[in-house]
């Protein structure tokens, strides 16, 4: 068992190690390892406006995707949990799951078909890219929040607060939001991580001026090995940063919830 675990770790880490070696190698061609040690590939990537702009676009895209997801998911989960009839609940849960089940290539083609017409000529616009990212990341936030709220005492709270005379908006703000904010936060980190790394759909629907980093990154592979490795490491660092941040936040929330919630 231990051997399998170590083997799996090596399998995961080997490409990262190779990227690191490549990014710091001055010259790597027809040799087992690169020759020389340099920072210049990182500087080159950073000085390239295309890559820098793509990084900014990716950040903006991830942030907007998170915000829109939060604005959609928070009230939707409230409705699904408390307001919708059982049949509508089931249908909603099924529909929300669709973007996970359907290949992103299919979603991308659907976007191209729908938004490259004279009536809806939005293909390549930044907001369509945001919409695409919202579609593919929505299930992850929805199910994180939904699972959390299903395990919470929300229904009992609602009933009690109703009997105490609380209006719906008061119940939403005073009871639902405090129950849900942790999972909204952790779910949003997942959404951001997915959005930052999303390539397939972005490649199909992003415009020339709004290409996110993973789409631009593909061009790096036509340049020198060092440049390609350094450019990839930028994306990898972002993903690792989010993973670390997410883990840290979950650990902190877990600790605080174990102090606040009933044992």
């Amino acid at each position: 068992m231990r051997l399998i675990t170590y083997g799996y770790l090596v399998y995961l880490l080997a490409p990262i190690v190779l990227l690191l070696i490549g990014a710091f190698g001055d010259h790597w061609s027809n040799t087992l390892l690169p020759e020389g040690l340099t920072w210049r590939w990182f500087i080159t990537v950073w000085e390239d406006a295309t890559y820098r702009n793509a990084m900014v676009t990716t950040f903006k895209l991830a942030l907007t995707t998170c915000l829109i997801n939060i604005l959609l998911v928070v009230p939707l989960v409230y409705g699904v949990t408390l307001k919708f009839p059982a049949v509508v609940q089931s249908i909603t849960r099924l529909l929300v799951m669709l973007p996970v089940a359907v290949p992103q290539l299919v979603i991308g083609f659907a976007f191209i078909l729908a938004f490259s017409t004279a009536m809806l000529p939005w293909l390549g616009s930044p907001w369509l890219l945001v919409a695409g990212h919202v579609v593919v990341t929505f299930p992850y936030l929805f199910y994180t929040v939904y699972a959390d709220i299903e395990a919470s005492p929300l229904k009992a709270y609602e009933r009690m607060a109703q009997s105490l005379g609380a209006a719906e908006w008061q119940r939403f703000v005073h009871l639902y939001l405090p129950l849900v904010y942790r999972s909204v936060f952790t779910g949003s980190l997942t959404v951001a991580a997915l959005s930052i790394g999303e390539f397939e759909l972005s490649n199909l629907i992003s415009g020339f001026m709004t290409q996110p980093y993973p789409v631009v990154l593909i061009q790096a592979f036509y340049r020198t090995t060092g440049f390609a490795c350094a450019a990839t490491l930028f994306l990898l660092s972002l993903a690792l940063l989010f993973s670390l941040f997410s883990t840290l936040v979950q650990w902190r929330l877990g600790r605080s919830s174990s102090r606040e919630l009933p044992q």
Partner: protein
């Protein structure tokens, strides 16, 4: 005052519910509705609370028809089985919450919440969270929250079921005291007959959605209207008999028994009931309805003793604080014998 008029309710595709319930709780009164699981007592509470709407009949609060009002509009204080305290709020936050949603300013609502926390003896715990409290303390917070906005009535749904036996007794006393102190009209549901008799000014018994009897605990115990009530409240001896005339019945093992005048017809088969503590062991010779008896089992219950006696083939239980060592005869005083239809 709470009044239920011909309340009818059943759940969709089911006959489970409550049927033709007429019940009144006077202002300041403590009514306990008692019944076995599935008797409809929780449904009844939900109908009064406004969580359910009756299919027929009316719910009145202080003579106002509230049948179509939402639970929030009814102005009732409700304490549910598991208290449903808001875990992210402190004790003070929980108790002040009903005032907050009614728009009472913070200073005023905290003053009122602190006063009621003082009344329930929790003023020192206003800044702690519900999970840091014991079951009894949580219950007191729930009661304080239900009373802080001066509700028209207090509804309690099996409030002691989450407590262990040792805490239950003291919390019963405390609840009774608080109810008296606040003078609030109270309706509590429970499956515990002892709790019902102890707390209720009046007790209502439900069975299969029907109200069997609504009377004082004493009347309920001494004059049950039917066999089901007699069986549900306290321990009872039942003896099958046939009516001889308006003051006598005949039994297989105890012979002819004198009873108080009744309305059963001659020859009708009836079931006679007598409480264990009403049976007299080794009675004086002038007491009616005597029969020889043999002790088959003795049970020590602390303050009481229980003995099982065999009279012919009929087993009777007898309870008393002081019991003779040897029992040869028992007497069943006529005034303690109640007759029911079989």
């Amino acid at each position: 005052m709470i009044a239920l008029e011909s309340i009818q309710f059943h759940y969709p595709h089911s006959s489970v519910g409550v049927h033709d319930i007429n019940l009144q709780v006077e202002t300041g009164e403590f009514l306990v509705v008692v019944g076995a699981s599935g008797s409809g007592k929780s449904t009844l509470l939900q109908l009064i609370a406004g969580f359910l709407t009756p299919l027929q009949g009316r719910v009145l609060l202080d003579h106002q028809d509230v049948t179509q009002l939402s639970c929030g509009e009814r102005g009732l204080g409700i304490v549910l089985q598991d208290y449903v305290l808001f875990n992210h709020m402190t004790v003070l936050g929980n108790v002040a919450y009903p005032l907050k949603v009614k728009g009472v300013r913070q200073g005023e609502r905290h003053r009122r919440a602190r006063k009621i926390l003082h009344d329930v003896g929790l003023e020192a715990l206003e800044n702690v969270y519900p999970h840091q409290l014991s079951g009894g303390q949580q219950q007191r917070v729930a009661i304080a929250r239900a009373l802080v906005f001066e509700p028209r009535a207090l509804l309690l749904d099996e409030p002691f079921s989450a407590l262990d036996a040792s805490r239950r007794e003291s919390m019963r006393q405390e609840l009774k005291h608080l109810q008296r102190q606040f003078g609030v009209t109270t309706l509590m549901i429970t499956h515990d007959q002892e709790e019902a008799l102890m707390l209720g000014d009046h007790v209502a018994i439900l069975e299969q959605g029907k109200l069997l009897q609504h009377s004082s605990p004493h009347q309920l115990y001494t004059q049950p209207v039917n066999e089901a009530v007699a069986r549900f409240i306290g321990r009872t001896n039942f003896i099958d008999a046939q009516v001889l005339d308006s003051q006598r019945i005949e039994t297989a093992d105890l012979g002819i028994l004198e009873v108080t005048p009744h309305a059963f017809t001659t020859g009708q088969t009836v079931r006679a009931m007598i409480r264990p503590e009403a049976i007299i062991a080794n009675p004086a010779s002038d007491i009616a309805n005597q029969a020889p008896a043999t002790v088959i089992e003795r049970q020590f219950l602390g303050a009481q003793q229980r003995q099982y006696l065999l009279c012919g083939t009929t087993t009777l239980s007898l309870e008393s604080a002081s019991m003779p060592d040897h029992i040869t005869h028992v007497a069943l005083p006529p005034t303690h014998i109640h007759l029911f239809n079989r």
